[in-house]
């Protein structure tokens, strides 16, 4: 699983694509881990851009929940962005919209966490 990480100033954006289900949740957790490790008070802010995600199962939601928990414990900032309608519905039904910070688009997420990252994004 390739998260295609991109850096915009102090923000790292990772973008899982396709499906995160029972069989791929562990891999997602592994590839997310190094980015999450740097999502601390003094380091990177992390945005998970879900605009390319078609489906996420409970096991995948659990990985995101653990990520949010870890980033919070580290004093970091983690935001989700760009949920497609079906994934948005899965988040709503499972009540995960109340657990995560979610922005409608990547641009909105960048605007929320870092002015310099937004500027870098708009120049790119």
């Amino acid at each position: 699983m390739n998260l295609s990480p991109r850096r915009f100033a102090d923000v790292v954006v990772v973008s899982p694509v396709g499906r995160i289900d029972q069989s791929s949740a562990d891999t997602f957790k592994d590839v997310l881990a190094p980015h999450l490790a740097r999502c601390t008070a003094g380091e990177d802010r992390l945005i998970v851009d879900l605009s390319g995600l078609e489906y996420i199962s409970s096991a995948g939601l659990r990985v995101l929940m653990l990520a949010a928990k870890q980033s919070k414990a580290q004093g970091g900032t983690l935001l989700l962005a760009g949920l497609q309608p079906l994934v948005q519905e899965i988040f709503e039904i499972s009540r995960f919209t109340m657990v995560f910070g979610i922005a409608p688009t990547l641009r909105d997420a960048l605007a929320k966490v870092s002015a310099s990252a937004l500027s870098a994004f708009e120049k790119a």
Binding site: Q22, S23, A25, D26, Y55, S57, S58, A59, L61, R62, M65, L86, E89, I90, I93, S94, R95, F96, M98, V99
Partner: protein, 317 residues
Amino acid sequence: MRVRFWGTRGSIPVALTSAAVKQKLVSMLTKAIGTPLDTVARIEAFVEQEGSTPYTFGGNSSCVQIDVGGSDYVLCDLGSGVRTFANHVLATHGPRKANTFHIFMSHLHWDHIMGFPFFVPAYIPGNTILIYGCHDVLEEAFRRQHASPSFPVDFSQLPARIDFVRLDTGTPYDIAGLEVRAMLQRHGGDSYGYRFEHEGKITVYSTDSEHKLEDPTVTDEFVRFFRDADLVIFDAMYSLADAITVKEDWGHSSNVVGVELCQMAHVKRLCLFHHDPFSDDEQIAGMLRDTRRFEEITRSGAPLEVSASYDGLDIVL
């Protein structure tokens, strides 16, 4: 195979309050403004179209009957719903007919045994009650519940013949015409699910079971246990977010995980069970709507029928 739900509420029995009844009446009568309701037939038709408002999911704690047409009765758990079941038995046969009851215990938490002191057949000589379970303390839990100062009639004074039968997981048993298998589940003090098979029909009773989602091999074990079932009765007490965050390790599961497991196991029907006592009828009806929608948008094979259990629900497989 017929499955009858006598108690479907989790943790503690609940009752509709007068305020809730009044709210339902006001809601119904408000909707009726301008509708001609001048005959009983029109009133009944109007009520039927109003969804869950005129109904209640009920408030008795866990008790489910598996009926395969034999002369013996088969139950899962002895929550407060068993009192209503006993009323039904007595109304059907009267008090003089000796009956045999086979009762499979998921576990021994209070909400699953609290109906037994009020189970009238235990007070009638000639009846036989066989209580099956996988816990070492199966008999002790029932005796303690009857002991002073908790209850005025000691267990030793009950006139019916009451036997406790220890079961092992993984071993198939032939009981009352059913092939029965038990499976260990994650819950405080352990709980056990039961898979019942009879003449090609399969019902799985899986309540008070937390799914941590951290080990795919555990998920696979549940998929095998649920495999090709006609009906899975599933602990859907919480939303997924609650079950794996603030209520992690509370020993319960969610509607979302219920759908996922049933889809993976090619189950035909999922019945949401062990409703949260903090949920009112509207919230449970909302959870049912959400669960049906979740099933629809995540479906990759045959449709999974989803229902929410209520006290009095009768499913014929």
